[in-house]
Amino acid sequence: MSTATTNAPQKRSFTAAASVYVNERTSVAGFVKELGRKAFPDHWSFLLGEVALFAFVVVLISGTFLTFFFQASMAEVHYNGSYVPLKGVEMSVAMASTLDISFDIRGGLFVRQMHHWAALLFVAAIGLHMLRIFFTGAFRKPRELNWVIGFVLFILAMAEGFTGYSLPDDLLSGNGLAIINGMIKGFPLVGTWMSFLLFGGEFPGTDIVGRLYTLHILLLPALVVAFVALHLVFVVVHKHTQYAGPGKTPGNAVGPPILPVYAAKAGGFFFIVFGVLALIASLFTINPIWNYGPYDPSPVSAGTQPDWYIGFADGALRLIPPGWEFVWLDRTWSFNILVPIIAIGVFIVLALMYPFIEAWVKGDKREHHIADRPRNAPTRTAIGAAGVTFYAGLWAAASSDLLATHFSLTMEGVIHALQAVVILGPFVAYFITKRVCIALQKKDREIVLHGFESGRIVKLPGGEFIEVHEPLDEYERWRLVSFETYEPLMLRPNSRGKITFGQRLRAGMSRWFFEDRIAPVTKGELEAGHGEHH
């Protein structure tokens, strides 16, 4: 655009002509008019989803490059590339072609490392983005479905990651697949057959890499792209949430326009994410398959771990005490595998359903576009902290051996401690977080009522020293008082004069959520406060 204004006028008429040409064939003017000047609320935490999106774009770009060189075949070859310690070693074509990408194609290792780092970042950014959504209540009506879509994306991203991790057919990922095989076999009734279907016969077979490749580059990316598109359509339909602030209401969205400021920032941020990943890929090794060597069912490496996002599942397997497997009705019941799977399944379903549960407890049917400060929803924040603790305990368990060696502990001690963390930790975290939230709310009330400490000490005529409290201006005050509380539900008989179980449950949960609550300061309270103070 700047060139158009500085250059000769004919140039501009070309731009104009081109715009007209395109518009008359695409009706793009309508979109530009509709979207171009939309306000986009501005806050750092609103960019976390963008990190995930941009990391995914980097994954797509780098992954496309890799498909030109990778061969998803498990046929046996003798490696004949540049890496000396593997020369002549028997391995699959998949492994050999991955080594060729790393050692015999210039820039290949760079793209491979960027692909893997971007994949780790993709899932990590989704995780952080979800935490932001959860703790600010941005999943409330009308955004419940978008929370579900985002959750599906999180699971799809993990599936993408795991299938990709397994493709090079190296020792580390091969043992990962061995673990998957063992877990599937532990399923009642269908497990043995599921394993045979997945691996095309006995483990490891010669089919799995090709099958995972189809999932990894065709089916799963198509699903991710479709869900990302849906996710973003909903962001446009709902307009972004915003934090409470002067001038910001539930009925408006305040921020810089999409064109030009937001577009420049988001576009620039894409290049920054891409650039940071390029920097990491050029400086830090990831997944050194040349160390791991080709998959062979006999060797294994100390510290065999999955990529971080599968860690919580691996950790759950590690935390089961001995002996949780029984023969009953002449069949094997592998509770040492089923219990972790069920526990994780319940955890995921609860997290997925949380927006609906909270909406049901509150009975609030209004739309919510102002993001909560986490302290103003103490029970939700405490539940979130409990969930994070549970997840973190499982995640840490996946590195129990490394925790033991790096902190000079015993492996058994680490496992026992983490068993306690996973079971008791959530309750402790819940309790502490709730108390901290309520304390912070009390402090907010205090500040609204009595102002903030100015740091100025004054000597009163009577010789007493006091610190002067400055009152808040109305803008600052609004940030601290513009939230709503809920009261516990009163249990009342319905129209047929009965109290149903559902009602009782809802009332119980409502009490749990809202029994301890701090209401925002009202005008009356502030005036009364002033009265007694001065």
Binding site: L47, L48, I272, F284, P288, A302, Q305, A404, T405
Partner: protein, 271 residues
């Protein structure tokens, strides 16, 4: 030594810094001249020739050292006590490994003897070794050609993965064992000590005798480990070579951390 010169220059400096003190000790003790910065294998052939020249004297010196430093736990005649096992028949290799890496004498009882600064000069280590070797036949300190890294790295890598990687990690970064024990990292262990560990099985490490892994195969394993030591990862910093856990922590703390810092900058009002 030629192996080292081949390695890329950017890493020569680092290696030099780590090797040098050991080379200096060897220089002082044996009066032999080693090229600086080289892989500090002491020339076993020379040591043997020297010690056989005055072997009885060496053994006598070793006996004195033993009685002064080791007999409390291992007994006056190395027959063993409740605090330490008998050393009859463990061979010179076991002593050279245990004392030469500082694991013996032990500082305190623990899950396993820890590596620490070596307590004796190289000459004293040899004297102790040949004294213990004189008590009963056992594995000898390996010859130079087996430990200088001149073998087949590919064969060594395969054997390493099958026999060693489950405890020591595929890149030799070490790993956890039961009840607080651990398999140490092999990243700066000399070829001689690796060889001695394989033939003697120190602590809880199994013994890998010559029928299990032939001397040539052991040489190949050492060759592979030297290759990994001498050639840093083509991908950049290794993050400890401990695998996905380090990678995951890195992306969360540094990757996502730096991007979050940038998001704060992006959305902060200019000035």
């Amino acid at each position: 030594m030629s192996e080292n010169r081949k390695s890329p220059m950017n890493r020569q400096k680092r290696r030099t810094g780590r090797r040098h003190p050991l080379a200096t000790v060897a220089l002082l003790a044996l009066g032999l001249v080693f090229t600086g910065g080289a892989y500090a294998a002491f020339s076993t052939g020379t040591a043997q020739a020297e010690s056989s020249a005055n072997s009885q004297q060496t053994i006598d010196e070793g006996k004195k050292l033993f009685q002064a430093n080791c007999a409390t736990c291992h007994g006056l005649a190395a027959q063993g006590t409740t605090d330490g096992p008998s050393l009859v028949g463990v061979g010179a290799a076991a002593v050279d490994f245990q004392v030469g890496t500082g694991r013996m004498p032990m500082q305190m009882q623990g899950p396993q003897a820890q590596k620490k600064p070596v307590q004796f000069t190289d000459e004293q280590v040899k004297q102790l070794a040949y004294y213990v070797a004189s008590l009963g036949p056992g594995p000898d300190i390996p010859a130079d050609h087996l430990t200088n890294g001149g073998g087949d790295a590919a064969n060594g890598a395969e054997l390493f993965r099958i026999n060693c990687a489950m405890c020591h990690n595929v890149a030799g970064a070490g790993g956890a064992l039961t009840e607080g024990k651990f398999a140490p990292a092999l990243t700066d262990v000399t070829g001689v000590h690796i060889y001695e560990a394989m033939v003697t099985g120190p602590q809880n490490m199994p013994v890998f005798n010559d029928m299990n892994i032939s001397p040539e195969d052991k040489r190949d394993i050492i060759t592979y480990l030297k290759y990994v030591q001498d050639n840093r990862s083509p991908g950049g910093f290794e993050l400890g070579s401990i695998g996905p856990v380090a990678e995951g922590l890195f992306i969360w703390i540094f990757g996502l951390g730096s991007l979050v810092a940038i998001t704060v900058w992006i959305t902060a009002k200019s000035n």
